[in-house]
Assembly symmetry: D3
Homo-oligomer: 273 residues x 6
């Protein structure tokens, strides 16, 4: 069960409204790597967790914190939209700054949300649940989480560069710091699990059943050998089970497919008589 | 530019048709972590690559290989659908095996695709481009890739457990091995970049501008202290810049928000007089 | 079956083109509460109607009228797009009014629709059928309809404020009046049904089977007691079956969940030995 | 900011697993009127609230409670999926009960989520943010909320009828009771606002600017006059501003539209010479 | 403006209910090539039509007819769902025919729609407006229409094969006949336009501005020369402007791309020093 | 299997960056009729092809070529985004050209993609697999392909008109020429199949089973007889099986539907006693 306190986790007050920036800031609220995504992802991973309690607890800790981040961003966006100009186009267009604000803001912020935040990204595309990753395998999922915090911190940093509003930057500097922690956290959790399980997910599949002759081979399917220069093309493999090799000219070994004609009730292309 | 050869990268022939399994196998073709996703992800990362040529080349190598995996899966699914029974319900329902096949298959495989594969997942939901991650920051993106290969191998392994068709398992054992390699590959590439940049993405943001007092703090937002037992709650942080600390009772430090009333032209809730 | 007459239900002629406004006006054509939504919602409620004929007939009356509203808006948008400037950016950008029009219009209006309306909302997001509500329970659905007409009238009013084009405002004033009627209509229909069934939907579920000790309790899950001031926190409940009570400190009464480990074939996180 | 306690708001334990029912139960977790929808809807309405504090507080109270409902449902679904049979089709199909379970469950529950809940509906379609209604006008939004609780209670009641598992029914009987309260709550809040504002949303638009001659007219666009029997066709209008009238033969009063040809750079259909 | 008559365009009565078939039949109601698609496509093409009145009129004729087809299918589906069994799983599973019906029907038909039709396809995926094609160029759009009627008739024919219910087949035989007419109709309309404009869309683009040396060349990008056997590889081109040629070994003539590094504020991969 | 060469099929270099145009150009990369659509469509049609090898080979030829078009567009877009200005709004707004660029570009190009292309359309809406048509009936699918190339060429031509950048126009002139060829190609392939099968798809359905009395009748559902002027209203039908007739006053011949009440467990509207 959950409880709410009135105060935000950290202050979220812009110096002044900026409806065009409000549109952009939606990305880290309702985008693929916005706060709604990590909130839902950590909560569902926690609720579905069939492993040790320390993982479940940790996931619900961070999932609950992320609800607070969603709250901060929504509050910030509503304030950035304060008194957004939405009057008729012609008059406003005479002042290029207002015109630019009117042309550049998300029209739904006014028409649909009445100057409030929405759970959409910076193009107005709605958040959806296919962004949520919860596989039941924690090592796989913690990699998803590390990625989410990496993409997320990158996007917040880019948004930091796009404004010089002191209040906005203040809040973003808090979110950036939390993303730093969360990248550290998932690295630590991954290290714990990799030490026990090894690095290949899932660790419980019997490696004898895979075609192990191609388990450590880099295939050069694009002309040119620049890719041979990387760590992935030679030396011991990262899982300690073999040596990386570089196949300069990969060869197709499967069949040239021929499919049977469809049965009559499918009404496909009639066969040649 | 691209060229095609007729033979599949590896053989893809089921022992016998199985339209219900065809529906399930769609997950690793057109699902969030299916082959279309990695194909598009690696190709777009390659085409957008503004870094060293060895990365671009490597991305296009693996992206091109993934098109071949899409081809193998599509070919396999079309064969699993051979002669799928789609006649009238009543008669068929008397044979429970056929009835189960008819009830369990994706109706679009017959009605829409005429016994062919489609770029959808195992619930029939269409692949979409929000699955594609290409941020322009390779360390972030390689973490996305490592996650994709982890989720992908996990799903293929689960599908391996769901059939005992020798031909299907043979093909899956190849895909599982390639996923092993690709997890190794992204681990290697990540190691290279982390050595140069450190582990926090993006590495180029000046750490002085983040609220560094919360950059290494775990916040216990869920009652109970099981989460204190993890590596993420104490000891040196993974980025080598501090010590993990555990905040048992996190406190809200922001304002209790109050928003201004909306301007009249928004027609929000009228203010109390 | 349906028949069409050439004339619009009401005139739809702008004074002059305005492609940026055309983009905004799309919201009430193809948005969540646009005319396509109510058209589809009323028609499907009518076609699925298993209740008295007067409801079916009324639903098809209003559903058919809404097709005419879709027609008026599409016609208006096409005219607002007349001769929209889409030439090269650099030259046009010298005239800020044209530049603003070019930057602010929906590019698909030119590229995809050739200066025609489309069934999308003001961000270009396509109308989709999850907006359509038809549950088979008319009291539930009439509440959905009342909401749709409330959100719809609100959006049209906001759009009225965003233009001073006489022709556009003339058409909108007609749509606003119809939304006034339709709010009245659903209020009347709801009153009829509530008188027969009571206010709780569905009325046919035996109230003895619900945990009636929490059927009239407000739970204060957010710190602070401002919410105690409302009508919902004390006095007789609206359904006449009890008294509203205010639970200042709600308590969790369920279990602290622990899930079983997954079976081996799921390849979840391996259990601790 | 938010805090979590380990115990569920109410117990959520099925008597025994039932993976097919787990699929159906997803509807009220991740469907249009599932708990995620009301959670997001109330939280966003609260965060965006520009009206009296008692409304903001009340919205955050109920929004926070709904997170707990999401948690209960996710926990229940994970337990219903315990040991779901996912082995090969042929063997299992010999036991019709297992076969039915395998054919009827959502394949993603096994392949993607490893026997965990997901934020999708009963067809596997992902929850998306277009389900969230937050307009900035509380009377409009409370109508949306009343509808959501009506549709929601109706769906939970239907799901109650579809199982005889005592544990599942126990949990549902709690959710049904809360939906009873929440319908009462929104009725009460609506009554408060309607008393102040009147029943037509938005109340602040000057009624002189609407075409008031059609503000209380029912238009009979579908042949037959059954619709004349309803309260909406005669008597004083619900808003107290007029009399309902019934227009038996509505007439089109607008123009028969003719559009100008497109400019040459649009490359539409060439005009007839 | 539109008017409705109570009678269906053609009778739509099944011999008996069949909820599994109801799910499948949704494909031609709410799928990509279902009746909602053609209804919306023809209406929007008509409303946006800037060409001769005979085309606008014809489009609105057929668009209006399609609303009647949507009505017939919705009515049929509601009847196929009559008394669909949705009780608890265990008891029903003992009767394999009922079990199959319960497992194979769309759960939303009961939970969400109360045994009514919905605007979704046979997998439960909602109809969306990206299915609607209206480009402003009638020759292009009539080709879209011919395709829609071809895919549509194909799907209806497949559904005809999947049932032996006399009433369903009777209605489908009407829809198949109308699709025959509509394929004929679009063929006729295309012939008219091609005679005036030629076959390449759009006809108004100056052919001198295209790289005409590749305007009639077939490029053999897939190994093997089977494709040389087709009409497209030799002989006069269909547009009468050249000869088809077959390029056995197509060559890449563009640059090997190298992109500039991103500016610092993008925080991409740091350049090698 | 597939192989990649470094060089593009044709050169793709803009004269100078133009981030607003980059946004528009996304339409023909990731829109409904963009290059990703035809790439996926032709590849899936090829992989699913159960007809003669010359069709499979031809489909894989053109599908493989389309991957190269995707590559060219992605490369062009990345270059158009070079050094896109994304700094703070206020300063930039003083220069109207920069302001226009900043307001008009897709914010995700900077925030999400770090100045790279993405698989989305010009409104930022993601490409999705419902755009892919592969029915198993080649005549139906070749009509889909002809439509795709018609809509595609039309959109590219419109984009050609929207820029005067020599480099962009150079690349587009190549794509336009290929679309010319591809329209010719599908015309040729269609002619081949129609000669064998006739023009009505599918040709294998026994025409005796359709209601042939309406197979060649045009129904005038929209008032006014302008539509009688077309080729589709009189003369021999295009399939050579009858005469077009014009039904001036079409009549509804079906029943006026009445549905049974829902069973009690559905909790629909209670029947009138």
């Amino acid at each position: 069960m959950f409880f709410h306190v009135k105060e935000l986790q950290y202050r979220a007050k812009p110096n002044k409204p900026d409806p065009v920036y409000a549109k952009k800031l939606q990305e880290v609220l309702g985008g693929q790597f916005g706060e709604i995504s990590v909130m839902m992802q950590y909560l569902f991973q926690g609720w579905n967790c069939r492993a040790e309690q320390k993982y479940r607890d940790m996931l619900l800790d961070i999932g609950t914190e992320e609800i607070a981040h969603v709250e901060m961003l929504a509050t910030m966006i509503a304030q950035l939209l304060d008194k957004a100009p939405v009057e008729e186009q012609e008059e406003a267009a005479k002042d290029p700054i207002i015109a630019s604000a009117m042309g550049g803001m998300n029209p739904q912020h006014a028409i649909v949300n009445g100057l409030g935040a929405s759970p959409n990204d910076s193009t107005g595309y709605p958040w959806n649940a296919r962004y949520t990753i919860a596989s039941g395998n924690l090592l796989a999922d913690f990699r998803a989480n590390l990625n989410a915090e990496s993409q997320g911190r990158l996007q917040v940093v880019r948004l930091y560069e796009m404004t010089d509003d002191y209040g906005v930057r203040d809040m973003l500097s808090f979110l950036i710091a939390r993303d730093t922690m969360h990248q550290n956290q998932w690295q630590a959790a991954i290290a714990e699990l990799e030490e026990k399980e090894g690095i290949v997910v899932p660790s419980t599949f019997n490696r004898e059943y895979e075609k192990s002759d191609v388990s450590h081979t880099f295939m050069n399917c694009s002309e040119g050998k620049e890719s041979e220069a990387g760590r992935w093309a030679s030396g011991p493999s990262m899982d300690g089970k073999g040596q990386f090799t570089y196949e300069e000219h990969p060869v197709a070994t499967g069949q040239a497919p021929e499919l049977n004609p469809a049965p009559g009730y499918i009404h496909g292309t009639p066969p040649v008589k």
